[in-house]
Amino acid sequence: MTDRDMTDHEIKSLDRHALVMALWLGFAFVAVTLLKLGIEHGNLWALSLGFASVLIGFIAHVLVNIVFKTLFTPKEVALGLSVFAICLLWFGLAVFFYPQYRMTLFLPIALGFVVLTSAVIFTMITWLGVRGAFESFDIIRRFGPEKKR
């Protein structure tokens, strides 16, 4: 077996991946702690700061993409969307099963989700343009028949 050196591309990709993971490790821990604090104690400041941590983490991720001149990888998009969907589902079920929290926490948490969604959409539009952002979700076309050349 011959030894193989890492190519520049491999190093760059690994570097980016490690940086993104390192940033999310910190921001996610802080965000989860703040959100838990906010939800359990009804502390709106903690709740807002928890969402702010997620937002800062997202901005940091975008900055990493800018520095490394890359886009979000398919795995990152899939993981992000899954986590977001699980959180939304949890939120919906919590509102349904624990109505006593509805009044105090519904609005701030919903607002947090809206802000996060807006940030993602804003990033996609500024980065890919309106058409590009739309086409990213245009699954029908992606799975449709290929254009004739």
Partner: protein
């Protein structure tokens, strides 16, 4: 709480293992395993360097010190700015020298430049002190912290074993690149948690203890003042210092020892394995001197006020308050402290093991190893290092705690060698070596191991640890400088000098610094010295009352915070400006590679240490590696 603690430990552990696996899938080259192919990117250096320097200083111990000694101990955080200054002074030129001489480790750079295996051995000794006693101390403290946080449910010994074995696995799997990634990630985590917990303490724990009760220091300690420029005491363990041990000279000499971490072979190894760019400058100015020092000095008193500095387990009170608020908040405190300790433990242990593998095994013992052989030898050295660390921190933690303070003190004795390599070609090999030997001896006999040894074997020495409240590192450096200059007077010139000059000629020709004119050069150095005098030197005593009882007025000013704290923050801002001026404007830390010719002096017969493997060592290895059956057949 145990469940929560386990979960928060599993998260960084999972990250470490994942990154190690990712790297190991891509790296199969043995030398890359040891030094990441010297191609680490700037961001890894930026975060990892800051984390390593701060962890080396020990935020865990420093918070305890602030809780016990008040604002006089908080002044010690200014030594982080000094680490930034030392980095600006040496890191770039060391990196350039390593490329010009085609040397891969700090010991090799110095050995080639001074043509001296003794300096290499000295550096190996320093690397060992960081890799084993200091790393054992960090692991032991981390285990104690976890055992205490879990109220004894997790035993100290089991933590030592689990963490030790886990760290070995990920280091053996991922090599140097994975270690630096994880160091950087832990640094980010530690920084974010310091901010988060600082915010939580000042907003969510009710009344801010710092403003209501102040710091609960031990009896007789001056909470808000430096207790004089110097105290003529015999040292720690002999006669107690009045009002606290952190006099102005204690702070200054502590900063000297902190510089020892910044110029240690273990830390320099990180710089040598990094690709060039603006990473050195950014890290030194904004992350180390700026964010690191600033955050710690401004938030540490808030943490310390919630702790009980008079008790052994000083963190317990803060931990309990945070846990009462929310279990996750308490867990965040433990994670922050653990991140600092484990970062220091893992980084120093693994960097030391890698340096040893490169300098001893790959160079002297088995110089013709294949890539897979290098891989294996690196793992064996790692295993031996970790076995030693686990043994010391598990069964004889006092040994680690006694020898750990020697690491920075003996490392700072390399200061003159660094000056010679980077700036002063007239410092000869013998001058540097004589200075280092005398300096290291003085450090040894003003620290616990030397004192205990002398006391037991002969008679008790008249001084204790850190006599006259001056840190052992500074005593050593003082003696070192004296002897180094004395010897240098007599052998400034000669054949050796001509060969050393070749490197400095290349520095002057291709890698100029921009000090400006004579006036600008004078201003830069005099401002640095003035800053050191007022911020961490004898002038710092002015800060005791400078802002609360101004010297130009009879009135007392009610600031709401202590004058010394304001003084410290004021000089921190100036310190950051100074590091910026030197690192960026003077180009001390900006690396330009356009004119760099890698290996330009690699073929110089004087600058390359001749035979790699001494004959006696070759014979010994041959004898050990020859099978007995073969030997008898030959007979």
């Amino acid at each position: 709480m145990q469940g929560l603690l386990t979960i928060i430990l599993v998260l960084p552990a999972a990250y470490a293992l994942y990154m190690a696996a990712q790297v190991s899938r891509r790296v199969t080259n043995g030398s890359d395993h040891l030094d990441a192919g010297a191609s680490l990117t700037n961001w890894t250096y930026i975060f990892a360097a800051a984390g390593v320097l701060i962890a080396g200083l020990g935020p865990f111990d420093h918070l305890r010190l602030v809780a016990s000694y008040g604002y006089q101990a908080n002044m010690l955080f200014l030594s982080i700015v000094c680490m930034g200054l030392a980095g600006a002074l040496f890191q770039k030129r060391l990196w350039l020298a390593s490329r010009i001489l085609d040397a891969k480790s700090p010991g090799e750079v110095f050995a080639r430049y001074y043509d001296s295996p003794s300096i290499r051995i000295y550096m190996l000794g320093v690397a060992f002190l960081f890799a084993v006693p200091l790393a054992s101390y960090f692991l032991s403290e981390a285990a104690g912290l976890l055992a205490s946080a879990s109220a004894g449910a997790i035993s100290r010994l089991s933590v030592v074993f689990y963490i030790g074995i886990f760290t070995f696995i990920f280091a053996a799997l991922g090599g140097w690149r994975a270690v630096v990634y994880i160091t950087a990630a832990l640094s980010v985590l530690m920084g974010l948690l310091v901010i988060f917990l600082g915010g939580l303490i000042t907003t969510a724990l009710g009344d801010v203890a710092l403003f209501h009760d102040g710091l609960k220091v031990a009896q007789g300690v001056l909470v808000d003042a430096i207790p004089g420029v110097i105290q003529f005491t015999g040292g720690l363990g002999r006669t107690p210092a009045e009002g606290g041990v952190w006099t102005a000279l204690a702070i200054l000499s502590f900063a000297v020892s902190a510089v020892g971490i910044a110029i240690s072979p273990n830390f320099s190894f990180l710089g040598l394995t990094t690709k060039p760019g603006r990473g050195f400058a950014f890290s030194q100015v904004w992350i180390v001197a700026g964010l690191g020092a600033g955050l710690l000095m401004s938030l540490a008193p808030f943490f310390a006020a919630e702790m009980d500095g008079t008790k052994q387990d000083a963190f317990h009170a803060l931990f309990k308050k945070l846990t009462d608020l929310d279990g996750m908040a308490g867990a965040a405190l433990i994670l922050m402290l653990l991140a600092g300790l484990l970062l220091g433990f893992a980084y120093f242990a693994i960097s030391g093991a890698n340096i040893f593998a490169m300098e001893v095994v790959n160079r002297y013992l088995l110089p013709n190893l294949s890539h897979s052989g290098q891989h294996l030898s690196a793992r064996i050295v790692l295993a031996v290092t970790f076995a030693l660390i686990i043994f010391i921190s598990g069964f004889v933690p006092m040994l680690g705690a006694s020898f750990a303070p020697l690491a920075a003190g003996i490392s700072v004795q390399l200061f003159m060698a660094y000056l010679g390599l980077c700036w002063m070609p007239w410092l000869s090999r013998s001058a540097v070596l004589v200075g280092m030997c005398f300096g290291a001896s003085v450090v040894f006999f003003t620290e616990a191991p030397g004192l205990i040894l002398f006391d037991k074997l002969f008679v008790p020495l008249p001084w204790g640890r850190w006599p006259l409240t001056v840190h052992s590192a500074a005593w050593g450096l003082l003696v070192n400088i004296f002897f180094c200059l004395l010897v240098a007077i007599f052998n400034r010139k000669g054949v050796e000098r001509t060969h050393r000059d070749r490197l400095h000629d290349i520095f002057a020709r291709d890698h100029k610094t921009d000090f400006g004119g004579r006036a600008a050069r004078g201003a830069k150095w005099s401002l640095t010295l003035l800053w050191a005098f007022l911020a961490i030197g004898p002038g710092a005593v002015l800060g005791n009352t400078f802002f609360s009882k101004p010297i130009f007025s009879d009135m007392d000013v009610k600031l709401g915070i202590h004058s010394l704290w304001v003084w410290e923050i004021f000089f921190w801002v100036i310190g950051v400006f100074l590091v910026w001026w030197l690192a960026y404007r003077t180009q001390l830390s900006i690396v330009h590679t356009e004119r760099l010719r890698v290996g330009e002096l690699a073929e110089d017969p004087r600058l390359v240490t001749r035979q790699h493997q001494p004959q006696w060592l070759k014979q010994l290895v041959d004898r050990l590696s020859t099978r007995p059956a073969q030997t008898s057949r030959v007979r």
